[in-house]
């Protein structure tokens, strides 16, 4: 306390009391504000309460230290205020992660400076508590500053997104950490502080070293680990403030800093749990991107079981792969010799070649038990020797091969030879079977080969690899029968598949009742939120139930998806958390994935040893149909292949690759076309269909609103009809009869309410001549004012009344509730039958009939 106050006038005891009480009250206010942020309804007020508390805290501080008149404080605060407001207003929602990161950094920087100031002003014989806390404030503040800047830079793509690993990274991390802590300790030694130059130097050094630690720690964190890092930095910025508060003995700072620290820590925990990562792993830079193969005996055993489960039936995928393949390479090994599977191999080769596929054999120099062992065996079954290639000749070809079939070879294809330093096979040249698009391994078991080194190819979770365990002759037989089976159906599927993926998605959506949309970072990247919104709106118009499944770590910061969807006004009660939504996938007709990858990767449940194993995911696979709108088929950040991308599941999964905005648009369009298809087939066109077609062909449209529009509150539907028509370049006008509605100008008010520009509203005398040149006139709940009987039916109450000459239009669409006469009680000849080619009668509630009309119009 005295540390700061030795310069200022000592506040009186009462002042002290008031200060502490006020600080307590403000702390409680802050906590209440945060508590209010747990509900959407109260959250805006909660935030405001927090802001006001902060303002009061500033005033309180100025009063307590009696520094109201220090002009530079005001200037500094105003500068900060101006920059802060501008930044808050300018920042785009998509930039929120980097904004949060940057702000974290600023808070940390300020805490660092507070620590420095405290130390500069400190009396060398100050209590070591103050000195140490001041030093720690520099440490935490500085690392928060630089770490946040790096994180923000990565998120803003100024720095590369991928983890940057320096040579000897762990060493640098440890070194910078230890050295900065040493400076912090040295700063608390009174005798050092007595030498001014030494003190300045130490302060500078400690800030720099801590900053270096922040950079070193942050640069090796990659994209998808960002939610964790940002949360952690958020926590640190609070901790820095709290420590600075201890250094200057300010209870308010300590309390608020503590709360922020706790919140960040909690978020960090939640994120870690959601990604199945350990915080320490991330701090130590074990980024999920480097999923390194585990070589443990126990795990391998489990994989055997799980692998069989995951790839529901490896034969099936093998059959599919082979059917689609053009180039096949077969790699024989000693296992083929053991099971005497040569003739099966020959048979497979013949069948493949019969279908025009190219088949080669890759012979490793040490395959088998003697030089040239394989050549002999294959020659035995009459395989021409010009199909047998030596390693150096064929290794280049693997990457162009569609399918590689390994038969009983192990060490000679073990990629561990390239990486597993210290093992007997390290450095041994191998056949690069891993490079092939698909890999079939027909080995007896997943035990390591002769050299005793585990083969990473046996690990689960690599969906381009099918493991066929057992006797090679049998497994080869299974592959062949699956291949043939497929061959038969081959003729059938193309006609089914001639339907494009979009159309298929459209049909699924048409038939669906419940749809769940799963957004991911890809949606953010392509800024496809509004396309998502559009799809949702159209689906809901058709009475389908649409909800959103939000994985806790989808995106780049906690709650990222929620913000993006809120931005386009999607109601938050449609956004469901993982635990809530997961059981619902079973009853869902279509799940639409938009740019999400790891968070829906079923490999997380099965592929032991991969970085995502055990991570809780959204069970999209349970849905009847899955539409995936991802940019490509590459694995997500964690690098684990997604089995959903595999071929051969087109009956359930539609893959729409490319920019999400475009693929979503394609789906929405396909949905629209599919919608109308079934009805179009109906023998006679319904009035809605007629209306839709007329509108599609029209150039000039006049809408005539009446009291019926007011009754059914159909204004906004009218507006959207207008918008859609205008989008297609059609001219839309409104004809307003002076007595339409229940008061003068009634229609004008209703239309203005929904923002229809008033220059589109025409009075009767202005528009009546135009009906003749109009393609379609749409009557919405108007009756007497358009009743042609007024011109002819002498003796009736409306005779002689001026009306809108809608009859002159080429086509008339009437959206009235029923055919009963209007208020005047005179039958309307427009309702009579026999005008079907000229007049379409859409009876019922105007909002619904208009909705139907709009849909038909879109379909056309």
């Amino acid at each position: 306390m005295k540390l700061l106050l030795f310069l200022a006038a000592q506040p009186s005891a009462t002042e002290n009391l008031i200060y502490y009480i006020a600080a307590g009250v403000l702390t409680v206010a802050v906590l209440i504000g945060i508590a209010m942020m747990s509900k959407v309804e109260t959250s805006v007020k909660g935030n405001l309460l927090g802001a006001i508390s902060m303002l009061l805290a500033i005033v309180l501080t100025l009063w307590y230290f009696n520094i109201f008149t220090v002009i530079e404080l005001w200037i500094a605060m105003l500068v900060g205020l101006a920059i802060g407001i501008t930044a808050a207003m300018r920042v785009k929602m998509i930039q929120m992660p980097q904004m949060v990161g940057l702000l974290n950094g600023l808070g940390g920087g300020a805490s660092m400076l507070a620590g420095i100031l405290t130390l500069i002003a400190a009396d060398p014989f100050e209590t070591s508590f103050s000195l140490i806390t001041a030093g720690l404030a520099i440490f935490v503040g500085s690392l928060t500053l630089t770490g946040s800047l790096v994180a923000a830079g990565k998120l803003h793509k100024v720095l590369p997104q991928r983890p940057i690993v320096l040579k000897g990274h762990p060493l640098w991390t440890a070194l910078s950490l230890i050295l900065s802590l040493v400076t912090v300790v040295l700063l608390a030694v009174p005798y050092i502080l007595m030498v001014p130059i030494l003190k300045t130097l130490l302060i500078l050094l400690s800030a720099l070293l801590s900053g270096a630690f922040g950079i070193i720690f942050a640069i090796r964190v990659g994209g998808a680990d960002m939610p964790i890092t940002i949360s952690l930095l958020n926590s640190l910025s609070g901790v820095a403030g709290a420590i600075a508060g201890m250094a200057i003995a300010d209870p308010l700072l300590v309390a608020v800093g503590g709360v922020v620290g706790a919140s960040g820590l909690l978020l960090t925990q939640i994120m870690c749990r959601a990604m199945n990562r350990k915080l320490l792993d991330i701090l130590l830079g074990k980024t999920s991107a480097q999923g390194k193969p585990k070589a443990k005996k126990e795990t391998v055993k489990v994989i055997e079981e799980t692998a069989v489960e995951t790839v529901q039936s490896p034969e099936m995928s093998c059959g599919c792969w082979l059917r689609d393949a053009e180039r096949v390479i077969i790699v024989p090994g000693y296992g083929m010799a053991l099971s005497q599977a040569q003739s099966s191999v020959k048979q497979l080769m013949t069948e493949l070649e019969a279908d025009g596929k190219e088949v080669k054999f890759a012979i490793h120099p040490v395959a088998g038990r003697m030089p040239g062992h394989m050549n002999v065996l294959l020659a035995e079954v009459d395989i021409p020797y010009d199909k047998l290639y030596e390693m150096q000749d064929i290794n280049e070809d693997f990457k162009d091969a569609d399918v590689v079939i390994v038969i009983g070879a192990n060490d000679v294809v073990n990629p561990a030879a390239n990486t597993a330093e210290g093992t007997p096979i390290y450095g041994m040249p191998i056949l690069d079977v891993e490079d092939a698009k698909s890999l079939i391994m027909c080995n007896y078991d997943t035990q390591p080969g002769y050299a005793g080194v585990d083969n990473p190819l046996y690990e689960g979770g690599r969906e381009h690899i099918a493991l066929m365990l057992g006797d090679a002759k049998e497994t080869l037989g299974a592959i062949m029968s699956s291949y043939r089976e497929g061959d038969g159906t081959d003729e059938v599927t193309p006609s089914g598949e001639a339907m494009t993926t979009e159309l298929q998605s459209g049909t699924w959506l048409r038939d669906a009742e419940r749809v769940i949309i799963v957004p991911g970072y890809g949606m953010a990247l392509s800024q496809a939120q509004s396309a998502v919104k559009q799809l949702m709106t159209e689906l809901e118009q058709e009475g389908k139930e649409v909800s959103f499944a939000i994985h806790p770590v989808a995106g780049r910061m906690p709650g990222h998806m929620n913000v993006l969807l809120a931005e386009v006004d999607i109601p938050y009660d449609k956004l469901k958390e993982m635990d809530e939504v997961n059981p619902e996938f079973k009853n869902t007709d279509v799940a639409i994935i938009i740019g999400a990858n790891d968070v829906i990767n079923p490999a997380a449940n099965t592929a032991e040893g991969t970085p995502i194993y055990g991570m809780p995911i959204l069970d999209v696979e349970d849905a009847k149909h899955v539409i995936i709108c991802n940019f490509d088929k590459l694995p997500g950040y964690a690098g684990v292949d997604n089995p959903l991308y595999e071929e051969g599941r087109t009956d359930r999964i539609a893959l729409m690759l490319g920019d999400a905005k475009e693929t979503l648009d394609a789906i929405t369009k396909a949905f629209r076309t599919c919608k109308v298809q079934p009805t179009v087939e109906g023998a006679t066109a319904s009035p809605e269909q007629k209306g839709g077609r007329w509108l599609a062909d029209a150039a000039r449209v006049i809408i005539v609103p009446g009291y019926g529009m007011a009754l059914s509150q159909a204004q906004s539907t009218v507006k959207s009809l207008m918008m859609e028509l205008e989008q297609q370049g059609k001219e839309v006008k409104f004809a307003i009869h002076p007595v339409a509605g229940r008061m003068p100008g009634h229609m004008n008010v209703l239309l203005a309410e929904v923002d229809v520009p008033y220059d589109k509203l025409y009075e009767m005398q202005d528009i009546n001549p135009e009906f003749e040149e109009t393609d379609v006139a749409i009557i919405i709940g108007a009756n007497d004012v358009i009743n042609p009987a007024a011109n002819t039916a002498e003796g009736t109450p409306i005779y002689g009344m001026p009306i809108l000459d809608v009859e002159d239009a080429k086509h008339v669409i009437i959206c009235n509730f029923d055919k009963l006469p209007g208020y005047a009680g005179v039958d309307n000849p427009l309702y009579e039958e026999g005008h079907e080619d000229h007049i379409a009668l859409l009876l019922g509630d105007a909002k619904e009939t208009l909705g139907a009309l709009i849909r038909e119009y879109r379909g056309c």
Partner: protein, 102 residues
Amino acid sequence: MTTTQGILIAVFVVATLVGYKIINRVPSLLHTPLMSGMNAFSGVTVLGCLSATAMAAHWGSKVLGFIAIVLAMINVVSGFGVTDRMLRMFHSSKPKNGGNES
């Protein structure tokens, strides 16, 4: 350790625990606004900067303090501003809420 220090540490521990408890109730729907709100609060360090700057003896310290106040103020103001903007975007479909811009 003096009483003041004891109190400070106690305040820190209590605030952390209470904060943890309260924040645990915030649904993941609001995690981003929560984070940016907390972010604003972390600018509370402005209080320390204010008093330290006012009492700084050297001009060098004054400059540092000035920068610190500016940084912390940006943190506070932007943090609350951004949080407010985000929170206002969240709408429920049930009651028709008036159109908020942004």
